[in-house]
């Protein structure tokens, strides 16, 4: 039962949401706020389809207590741009990265976090930073998308 109010910023908007005290950020975003871009893939922090930014840090929403998110600033895939002007989103379209696309929200958030800290990543840095599972096997194009967005192609 929803028994706790949590206030936080989501994609730049202040939100106060009524949640279960044991709820995780993933389900608050998807089911309470209707932001279904962030996905459920495993629930145990393995696949990273649930990746979001919390105060700029890449986090796995499936295991992030919603009460810990109080007062923080969350960015989801819907917050990257209002009009696909985000460089990574443009690169993803240029390189035709997604197959089924289900993992790509998390993939783009991980790429966002990578480029924020490492604007021109090497292959080794991409290998180490991108741990999202893509069952469809888009990895070669994810790498190209990151490099294109970084201005390296």
């Amino acid at each position: 039962m929803a028994n706790v109010n949590v206030s936080l910023t989501v994609n730049g908007q202040q939100q106060t949401v009524s949640v279960d005290s044991s709820e995780t950020l993933l389900w608050m975003l998807r089911d309470r706020l209707g932001l279904t871009g962030t996905k459920y893939g495993c629930g145990i922090e393995q696949c990273r389809a649930c990746s979001v930014l919390v105060n700029g840090q890449l986090e796995k929403a499936c295991d992030y207590d919603v009460t810990s998110a109080a007062g923080k600033s969350v960015t989801t895939i819907e917050g990257l741009s209002a009009d696909l002007s985000n460089k990574l989103q443009q690169a993803w379209i240029t390189e035709q990265v997604p197959q089924c696309g289900y993992c790509q929200s998390g993939m783009l958030m991980a790429a966002t976090a990578l480029l924020a800290s490492t604007p021109k990543p090497t292959d080794a840095q991409i290998d180490s930073a991108i741990n999202n599972i893509c069952a469809c096997g888009t990895y070669a194009r994810v790498r190209l998308g990151i490099k294109r967005a970084a201005g390296m192609l």
């Binding site: 709820e23 089911d31 279904t36 996905k39 989801t76 696909l84 089924c100 790509q104 096997g137 888009t138």
Partner: protein, 1160 residues
């Protein structure tokens, strides 16, 4: 905030009904590429007209094309739209995508004009299956628009009209007649009789146009089944059976917050048409969140009833069962059989026969979006929103569950987060409809957890396959026979005619593209009840691995290049074989096949033909080892699919198939323990990650052959390509997938000692030593070795060995040490394997086992020498010596000393005393100490820091009193009886008695006098002082007498003697007399010799330092000691003429001469 509507559904698109030609209902979720959701709404709102179920032209010229299937990432929604757009003569940028729902008008066609009976997506059959039909649909729509232009402009004949870029123009002068938007309403009524396909060159077909669905997949707006949100929607999940085949027994109380508990048909049961599975799950409905529903389902208590077969679903049992079927199961021969492979195999000599038994495991689909469906059931209708590959089957299942007619069933197709064949099944839809039926009027979204998804799959079957081949004298294959043992979903669903073959068991073998002179493929049905379904590339996924591995074994065995071997089997000159040869040519070039790879890497190749004669060849380049793991660096793929409708999408499908097939080959397999599937999430079912994905080079051959499938053909060759590369890299043939189960050869991580002569026993540490068959020292076999455990092995350096690496061989291979063992000359050190007992008191006889013990010269227990006896080269005995303490045992021979790793514990005799404490903790000699402990009865001695007390009393077994003996110093107290000695842990502090000084002689004297001092307790004397000044020296003659020398700096006072107990002082004083020249002043002269009071006089002499007074004939004067030889003084008033005297502590001196003061 309750479950609201999707942003997508409410703002951008919404359920939209559109009337197609003939009044058929077309429903779907409106989607728009890119960001302009408002455009989509506007386009639909201003739609000019629908030219059939596939095509709607908007008044704003947007062209909405309906996709009839499941968009699960393969891009078929774009591919089919390309075909329509090509024929329609519209620009790609004007195209919008509509995901079609259940509609028989969208059924899979059987040819260019006739629809089949079902709407489904699979078999790599969307683009090639719909191609002709949609060419006709598009061409027909285009012609309708042209006829409409003529109808509205009768003066312009149809022959002068053409369609270009969404408009109809006059051929004669190119002038615009009308746009499609303006014509659409009229076009609907046209019935053209001159429909023809557009001719190449194509504008859109064959181009890598961007996919229509990708923009929504990069901004989070794409709506998958799991994302559906409807007003008033509630969340549900299902408690699924923990074991395969179980049905529900009893259902416990609902947890709080649960709105409904609904028994549902079992998941992952074989589908028997027209029936529902037995109740095998419990649906739970909540109003919180999806996760709240999943948690509630987990927490509800349910008892389960096994099927008779449940316990048989056990990986170990199933392996044994399959092996039994391989040796003696009844087989059915698949058709076509070529020649007589059995006879050819029997006739071939042994060295011309090849045989391999291969196996692959059950595979899960592992789509990233778990199973789910959203359903709204009312009394009159059932509407479903689901990620489904089978709209018709889903509708029929819903009709079965609800009892409603098909006409009352709506299925809306969402995007699919992966399909791979899992969503060909409708078990999750049946469960969702059943739950919604119990909550009529309320939309219910039922979502499975990832764990449910992994454990309730329809798995790709495991298969055990033996392939035998015969070659002729030149290495050409003359016969091949495959015997396949695997289960069958056809059998499980009751649709397998007895005596026939389930084609998915032998697909890729019986129809392999090679020309074998004699070929038999036979299948033994395994009736095991593991739930089965189609996994990407179906039977090809296992059979290509089997065949391409065996061909590679033949290539290696006959010393042929594997590509040359394939060529020799593609020699019939048929168009298919010519295409296959062209694929091999391109593969050789693109993979640099004829140039060796960099050191440490090897390449393997494989090829296959599947899904409508698409031919794929692959080369994988691999490095690594079994122990450390393998890395696939790059893969080259050549594909001939006849025509690539969208080359970019073909390339993406190849990359997808390679990554997916690689992960399956290297790591994946579902296992079972008495009915329970073991791998439940991605932590145990390993998927490829980005760092493991190889670089992939895809070459598309445009052969102009018939359009072939693209979704699946790229997958079968990757597993054998990798296994074949590994065979060349390591010499090891992997016949069983996944490759992570390849047996690991031993690894030697260290050994000790690192050098020694022949006969030295060396201990190896590492892994995989169990079952070792050989140990070599620089290639020379050790004649004696013992495997202590998987991680430790002991071997003796053999005669003839020289310095070099050590190697251990087991059935799984050979491991070699990184470092060399140095073989020296001399006598090998003793080797100590073990000793027993591990503890005991002095006197215990210890047996030491090892090697090289003959010739032992010494045995020590923590450094204490022990008596020993050499029993044999491998055993000696030694006696724990008295006084030994806990520590390692060492054994010495002329070669050196070896020390044990564990310590020998010298344990006290249990009858020996123990000292637990004593009181007081300090005292003087002669004082009494009470000692507590145990076993004091029969005490024979008490010692204070080794000095025996002469007086002690055993008060009880736990208490002894003792007098501190003379000579005792601070230290531990010990108590000894006949069985041994116990010692205190802390020390007793022996306080010395304070000295007393009773007399001394002489009683006076000058500095330097030697004084004899009498008294008592002159022990441990640290100081003797005269009036506080330390004696120049002293000698302790006895405890009652000291001689000491009076020091220079002292004066009359008492004599004291000090030790650690304190200081004793005399009552009388020693008088320090003058008379000793030592220290008293002398005056040698003074000047002037006369002068009145106030005159400054300088005295010259010695020992002036410390002068205390200067007098002129008894009258004190002021003075200054300038140095030890000079004083200045002032003549005082009133001093009579006379001598000058100088006094210091040692005496007074008077001058010989007089000073004339002028007075007297």
């Amino acid at each position: 905030m309750s479950a609201g509507t999707n942003k997508a559904v409410s703002r951008r698109g919404f359920l939209k009904s559109m009337l197609g030609a003939g009044g058929a209902l077309v429903v779907g979720v409106e989607l728009v590429p890119g960001l302009s959701w408002t455009n989509a709404a506007a386009a639909v709102a201003t739609a000019g007209g629908s030219l059939g179920v596939y095509v709607t032209i908007g008044a704003d010229e947007t062209v909405t094309l309906t996709y009839p299937g499941a968009e699960m990432g393969q891009g078929a929604s774009t591919g089919l739209a390309q075909i329509l757009a090509e024929e329609l003569m519209v620009d790609w940028s004007s195209v919008r995508l509509l995901l079609g729902g259940y509609d028989p008008q969208l059924n899979r066609p059987t040819n260019g004009t006739t629809l089949g009976t079902s709407q489904s997506t699979g078999g790599s059959n969307s683009v090639r299956g719909y191609h002709d039909y949609l060419r006709n649909v598009g061409a027909t729509a285009r012609q309708k628009l042209i006829w409409a232009a003529n109808s509205l402009n009768p003066s312009i004949p149809v022959s002068d009209l053409k369609a270009v870029n969404g408009t109809v123009v006059r051929i004669s002068d190119g002038s615009l007649v009308a746009t499609y938007g303006a014509l659409a309403a009229t076009a609907v009524t046209m019935t053209p009789n001159d429909v023809a396909w557009v001719q190449p060159p194509y504008r859109i077909i064959g181009q890598s146009v961007p996919r229509l669905d990708l923009p929504s997949k990069v901004n989070g707006s794409a709506v998958y089944g799991i994302d559906i949100r409807l007003p008033g929607m509630l969340y549900a999940s299902v408690k699924q059976a923990p074991k395969v085949g179980q049905t529900v027994g009893t259902i416990g109380a609902a947890p709080s917050g649960v709105l409904a508990v609904v028994p549902v048909p079992a998941a992952s049961r074989p589908v028997v048409s027209g029936t529902l599975p037995p109740i095998g799950g419990v649906g739970v409905v909540t109003n919180s969140t999806t996760w709240g529903a999943i948690q509630a389902a987990r927490s509800i208590a349910v008892t389960w009833v096994d099927e008779a077969y449940t316990a048989n679903l056990d990986t170990a049992l199933m392996k044994t069962r399959a092996a039994g079927l391989m040796s003696s199961g009844t087989a059915v021969t698949a058709s076509p059989k070529v020649g007589d492979a059995d006879a050819a195999l029997v006739a071939a000599p042994a060295n011309q026969r090849y045989s391999g038994t291969y196996s692959v495991p059950y595979l899960a689909h592992a789509t990233m979006e778990p199973m789910n469906a959203t359903v709204l059931v009312t009394d009159a209708s059932c509407e479903i929103w689901a990620p489904t590959q089978v709209q018709t089957t889903a509708a029929e299942a819903a009709a079965l569950v609800t009892g409603l007619p098909l006409s009352a069933i709506k299925v809306n197709t969402t995007y699919l987060g992966g399909g791979n064949g899992r969503r060909l099944q409708v078990d999750f839809i049946i469960q969702a409809v059943t739950i919604a039926k119990a909550m009529k009027g309320t939309p219910i979204k039922t979502v499975w957890s990832r764990e449910d998804d992994f454990t309730h799959d329809y798995f790709r079957p495991a298969s055990l396959t033996k392939i035998d081949a015969a070659v002729d004298g030149s290495g050409a294959i003359t016969a091949i026979k495959a015997r396949v043992v695997c289960p069958s979903s056809k059998y499980q669903t009751g649709t397998l005619t007895s005596g026939t073959v389930d084609s998915s068991a032998v697909d890729g073998l019986v129809n392999a593209l090679y020309n074998f002179p004699n070929k038999t493929v036979e299948w033994v049905l395994d009736t095991i009840e593991v739930p089965l379904g189609s996994w990407r590339s179906v039977g090809n996924s296992q059979n290509c691995f089997f065949l391409e591995s065996l061909l590679d074994e033949v290539a290696i065995g006959t010393n042929q290049d594997p590509i040359a071997l394939r060529r020799s089997l593609l020699n019939s000159g048929t168009p298919t074989h010519l295409r296959a040869l062209a694929v091999l040519d391109a593969l050789v070039t693109a993979s640099n096949w004829n140039t060796a790879p960099v050191s440490g890497r090897a390449r393997g190749m494989a090829m296959s033909m599947s899904f409508g004669d698409t031919i794929v060849g692959e080369v994988a380049e691999v490095s690594g080892s079994v122990a450390s793991g393998f890395k696939v660096h790059n893969v080259t793929v050549v594909i001939d699919c006849g025509l690539a409708v969208n080359p970019g999408m073909v390339k993406a499908q190849i990359e997808s198939a390679v990554d997916q097939g690689l992960a399956a080959a290297m790591w994946q397999g579902q296992t079972f323990v008495t009915g329970t599937p073991q791998k439940r999430n991605f932590d145990t079912y390993r998927m490829a990650r980005l760092r493991e994905a190889p670089a992939i080079n895809t070459v598309i051959i445009d052969s102009g052959a018939k359009l072939g499938g693209v979704g699946e053909p790229g997958l079968p060759p990757i597993a054998p390509a990798i296994a074949n590369a590994i065979a060349r890299l390591t010499g090891i043939r992997a016949r069983n997938l996944p490759l992570s189960t390849m047996p690991v050869p031993p690894v030697i991580s260290s050994f000790t000692p690192s050098s020694g002569p022949v006969g030295t026993v060396v201990t190896l540490t590492g892994t995989g030593f169990t079952g070792a068959t050989a140990v070599t020292f620089n290639g020379v076999a050790a004649t004696s070795f013992t495997v202590a455990s998987a991680t430790q092995l002991v071997a003796t350096v053999p005669a003839g060995a020289t310095t070099g690496k050590i190697a251990v061989t087991t059935a799984d291979g050979t491991g070699t040490s990184a470092n060399s063992y140095s073989v020296t000359t001399g006598i090998p050190l003793p080797f100590l394997a073990s000793f027993t007992p591990a503890s005991g008191p002095a006197g215990t006889l210890v047996t030491i086992n090892g090697s090289n013990l003959t010739g032992t010269t010494a045995v020590k227990f923590n450094g204490a020498t022990a008596a020993f006896t050499v029993v044999s080269a491998t055993q000696l005995t030694a006696t724990v010596p008295a006084g030994a303490t806990t520590g390692k045992i060492s054994v010495t021979n002329p070669g050196g000393t070896t020390t044990t790793t564990p310590s020998y514990t010298v344990a006290l005799n249990p009858l020996a005393p123990t000292v637990s404490g004593f009181s007081p903790t300090s005292g003087v000699v002669g004082s009494t100490v009470t000692i507590t402990g145990s076993k004091f009865t029969g005490t024979t001695a008490v010692t204070f820091n080794g000095v025996a007390a002469t007086v002690f009393t055993v008060v009880s077994d736990t208490r002894v009193t003792a007098t501190v003996p003379v000579g005792a110093t601070s230290g531990k107290i010990s108590v000894t009886n006949a069985s041994g000695t116990g010692t205190s842990s802390s020390s007793y502090t022996v306080k010395l008695p304070v000295p007393t000084v009773s007399s001394f002689t002489p009683t006076s004297g000058p500095i330097g006098t030697v004084v004899t001092i009498n008294g008592t307790n002159f022990v441990g004397v640290t100081a003797v002082k005269f009036n506080g000044k330390t004696a120049t020296s002293f000698t302790v003659v006895s405890a009652t007498q000291i001689t000491a020398t009076v020091p220079t700096a002292t004066t009359t006072g008492k004599v004291s003697v000090t030790n650690s107990g304190g200081t004793g002082t005399s009552s009388a004083s020693f008088t320090v007399t003058s008379g000793s020249t030592a220290g008293a002043p002398t005056i040698s002269s003074f000047t002037p010799s006369s002068g009145r009071a106030g005159t400054s006089v300088t005295l010259t002499g010695t020992n002036f330092t410390g002068t205390t007074s200067v007098k002129f004939n008894g009258t004190a004067a002021t003075f200054t000691v300038v140095s030890s030889t000079k004083i200045t003084t002032t003549v005082p008033a009133g001093a009579p003429k006379g001598s000058i005297s100088v006094t210091n502590p040692y005496g007074t001196v008077t001058s010989r001469d007089a000073y004339d003061t002028g007075i007297g």
